[in-house]
């Protein structure tokens, strides 16, 4: 054993990580600086000329970073809501009301052993969760969260979403086949049969809407539905919305169509042999898919990021704050207003309860002051910035549908595979065709060219 190896073995885990990561970071930083010094100007020029590239990279990064917390939120929501429906308490240990439990779950799956069963096809086994997760995240890219807040605005956005959504089944099939387990195989084949059958009514149910809207761009669809909630497409396409909702439930493999991971029949379906972060990817992808499906339903049928009402122009509040014109007053205001407000908010508590020490009253005042500032700034942003209001409305409506998915999971048993297929081919497909024909007829009769 050499001296270097001996010193290395004496390091703690943190030291080993530090001694590995820091040199790599140093080399990378030096290289980056060198590249900027030598070729800074051409790179900046190139990026300025191709802003779409910058925009795409930023959007993709944001969506990738956003997907995991949103999955955490939905997982927590599912645990808590189903617990309340079951008359249980649900998670209540980690964080306030157990809200950090899904974060702890995430850390747990990261720390688990990287395991693959004997006889598994290693490469496919490893790639399957990646395919599933990437397809879920790529669907997020075209969802319009708010005016001007979206990854990319394709003129075939809806088609892109269906194509990417169909990619999920490839990952599930890969996982089911490569696990070398008959339960996994059954799960994978079930998912293939189910998703392919439900793609057809899912796609056909929105064709009527596309005839009405004349565009496939999700952003344009949202803009079309602006104004009062009567402009939402759900009132023109109620049958289409219902079929889309049912088919989307099956697409996202949610109860009552969660046959791919039916735990009472085929232990965990395609995920039987998966553990650790590989299972984590499957798990997160499922919840990202739930969010995507909810967001898609909202975008297509429930007005997207539009508020359900439209004030007349005269009622609109326009706040034009110009901090520059206040001059030195702004500085004094920033210095004086917080302490005064804190004292003012703390005073009633100090006076009202004689047993309260002064410093506790000050803490209450400080917290209340912060809440006040947040409410004021949030209110200002909600009124003045359309993208903040749009984001809030979009998330609110999406989470209503996420709640409905969770609700169904808490209530309904699972359908059988032949009932599932029969329902798709015998009921949803004719109904969506009927919807399409009626819509086309109405468009021709009411608005001829």
């Amino acid at each position: 054993m050499t001296a270097v190896a001996r010193s290395w073995s004496r390091l703690t885990l943190a030291g080993k990580i530090l001694f590995t990561v820091v040199p790599i970071l140093l080399v990378l930083t030096a290289g980056l600086l060198l590249v900027i010094v030598l070729a800074g100007k051409p790179i900046v020029d190139f990026l300025a000329a191709n802003m779409w590239l910058v925009r795409f990279v930023v959007a993709a990064t944001a969506v990738l970073l956003m997907s995991v917390p949103s999955a955490f939120l939905i997982i927590y929501m599912e645990m808590k809501v189903i617990a309340l429906m079951n008359l249980r308490i649900g998670p209540d240990r980690v964080g306030p009301f157990g809200s950090l439990l899904s974060v702890v779950h995430g850390l747990k799956v990261l720390m688990k052993e990287d395991f693959s069963p004997t006889g598994a096809d290693r490469l496919v086994f490893t790639l399957a969760p990646v395919v599933v997760y990437m397809s879920a995240v790529m669907s997020l890219l075209v969802l319009p969260f708010a005016p001007r807040i979206f990854g990319a605005d394709f003129n075939i956005g809806l088609l892109y979403l269906f194509a990417i959504g169909g990619l999920t089944v490839v990952g599930l099939l890969m996982g089911g086949w490569s696990s070398f387990n008959k339960y996994s195989l059954l799960g994978g084949l079930r998912s293939a049969a189910q998703v392919i059958s439900y793609e057809i009514p899912l796609t056909l149910s929105v064709v009527g809407l596309l005839i009405l809207a004349g565009t496939m761009s999700l952003n344009q669809l949202s803009i079309n539905q602006s104004g009062w909630f009567t402009n939402w497409y759900v009132f023109q396409q109620p049958l289409g919305a219902l079929i889309f909702f049912i088919a989307a439930t099956a697409e996202a493999n949610r109860t009552p169509f969660d046959l791919t991971e039916a735990d009472s029949e085929i232990v965990a379906g395609f995920a039987t042999e998966y553990s650790g972060m590989r299972f984590g990817f499957f798990f997160f992808a499922e919840y990202v898919n739930v969010f995507v499906v909810s967001g898609l339903i909202v975008t297509l049928f429930f007005g997207g990021w539009n508020a359900p009402f439209a004030w007349p122009e005269a009622w609109a509040i326009h706040l034009n704050l110009d901090p520059g014109s206040l001059g030195m007053g702004l500085l004094f205001g920033l210095l004086l207003i917080p302490p005064i407000l804190i004292l003012a908010l703390a005073a009633p508590f100090y006076v009202g309860r004689s047993s309260l020490p002064w410093w506790q009253a000050l803490i209450i005042g400080f917290v209340l002051f912060n809440l006040l500032v947040i409410v004021l700034i949030g209110g200002w942003a909600f009124i003045s910035l359309d993208w903040v209001a749009g984001l809030l409305w979009f998330l609110l409506k999406s989470y209503v549908f996420v709640f409905i998915f969770v609700w169904m999971r808490g209530t309904l048993p699972r359908v059988r595979i032949d009932q599932l297929m029969g329902f798709a081919w015998k009921w949803l497909l004719p109904a969506s065709l009927l919807n399409l024909f009626v819509t086309a007829l109405a468009v021709i009769v009411i608005s001829p060219r």
């Binding site: 008359l87 735990d263 009472s264 029949e265 209530t411 309904l412 048993p413 059988r416 595979i417 009932q419």
Partner: protein, 412 residues
């Protein structure tokens, strides 16, 4: 299962370019067909599977096999072609244990036979011992026995409703069922001292008289039991998915039910009103008013609905028992060491799953010479061979759940 085919061809060497052995060299040597002849019938069948068929091992750690049951399913796609239940993972030799302990001790061994309806496992044993000893049980003791066992029947059925839904993928009803179960378990815990394995019945009576905590819990629960059970079952009875999956599934006609020696709710769902409380009356059941709910369909839905009706009848019986409870001692005076005359006795009671029975032979010593226990779960489990084939793998689980076997009773 089918007989082993001649397997002379299995002796030959597997060529190395056989695609079946080229699976994953890094993972180790994998040989689908070992070089030795098949050792068991099932192994032989494994090598001669048809095209598209496969064996799948369901259990003993499968989430929905109701304990440690292992079923070897032969699947064609998702269809169950053939199956072979493998028992014995929970065998404890209860009968032999009873034969090696005296009569009082045996009762405690009968309890853990079945961990959902323990009182019904004690009762036939106690009845048989009483027949051997010719003991007159006080009337109050008989009433308390009926009261406790009917509560236990409701406990068992409310768990059944939850399991049934859980095996069909419904998450919520099991927890509603557990609430009922917990309330009754607390009640019986106050009466008997234990929540799960009561060890309450004694030769010639019961272990303790009714106490205040039990009565207050019982009154509290009875005041809302009907509405609560109604509310719990409405979630399933009016659910289109649940009803559609259960109706016409695993249908068993009268003849098959008789041939498979079914008893209890599973038989009554096929239209045979056989109830040992009426057919071969024991205890004070002749004095009590109750109906025997039956259904004609014989499918899983009928087996489920019969159990719900039975809960209502049990509530009726409990009501009458509380109102007619006589005074007096709760246990007959008996010596501590029992030496019955040589002879044999058989006793059967109607449990939540069917006929629980015990057959005891005494040779005049203080220990039973031979003790045989009849458990309905074991008898009903053989019906899966008739009911499951031809159904999908998902329905196999529903059929299994509707028969409601408890593996503790099957493996004894």
């Amino acid at each position: 299962m089918t007989a082993a085919p001649p397997h002379g061809h299995l002796h030959q060497e597997v060529p190395s370019d056989d695609p079946r052995v080229q699976l994953d060299e890094a993972a180790g040597v994998f040989e689908p067909v070992p070089p030795y002849p098949p050792r068991t019938e099932r192994e032989a069948e494994f090598y001669t599977l048809g095209d598209g068929e496969m064996f799948i091992n369901m259990g003993p750690q499968h989430p929905s096999t109701h304990g440690v049951l292992r079923i070897v399913l032969k699947l064609d796609g998702e269809n169950v072609v053939d199956l072979d239940p493998v028992l014995g993972y929970l065998h404890r030799g209860v009968e032999k244990l009873c034969e090696n302990s005296d009569y009082h001790h045996s009762i405690a061994y009968l309890d853990p036979l079945e961990y959902i309806a323990s009182l019904f496992c004690e009762w036939p044993g106690v009845l048989a011992f009483e027949k051997l000893l010719d003991v007159q049980v006080p009337r109050r003791a008989e009433y308390i026995r009926v009261l406790a066992t009917e509560l236990n029947r409701i406990l068992s059925h409310s768990m059944f409703i939850g399991w049934m839904a859980l095996d069909l993928g419904g998450l919520t009803p099991i927890l509603y069922g557990l609430i009922e179960r917990d309330e009754i378990a607390e009640m019986l815990g106050a009466l008997t001292g234990q929540r799960l394995l009561y060890n309450y019945l004694r030769i010639g009576g019961v272990n303790g008289d009714l106490n205040h905590e039990f009565m207050s819990r019982l009154g509290d629960w009875m005041s809302r039991a009907t509405t609560q059970i109604e509310a719990n079952t409405t979630l399933l009875n009016e659910n289109e998915i649940f009803v559609r999956r259960m109706r016409g599934l695993g249908t068993m006609d009268k003849e098959t039910a008789f041939r498979m020696a079914m008893t209890g709710p599973n038989l009554r769902a096929s239209g045979v009103p056989l109830d040992f409380r009426r057919a071969h009356p024991y205890s004070v059941f002749p004095e009590l008013e109750f109906d025997i709910p039956t259904r004609e369909e014989g499918d899983c839905l009928a087996r489920y609905l019969v159990r719900i009706d039975e809960i209502k009848q049990s509530l009726r019986i409990i009501d009458q028992v509380i109102h007619n409870m006589p005074d007096g001692p709760v246990i007959a005076k008996l010596p501590r060491l029992l030496r019955p005359r040589p002879g044999r006795a058989y006793a059967a009671v109607e449990g939540p799953r069917g006929q629980y029975a015990a057959y005891v032979i005494s040779d005049g010593t203080d220990q039973p010479f031979r003790m045989r226990i009849h458990d309905p779960s074991f008898v009903h489990l053989q019906a899966v061979g008739v009911l499951m084939p031809g159904h999908l793998i998902a329905d196999a689980m529903a059929v299994m759940a509707s028969l409601d076997p408890i593996m503790g009773g099957v493996d004894k």
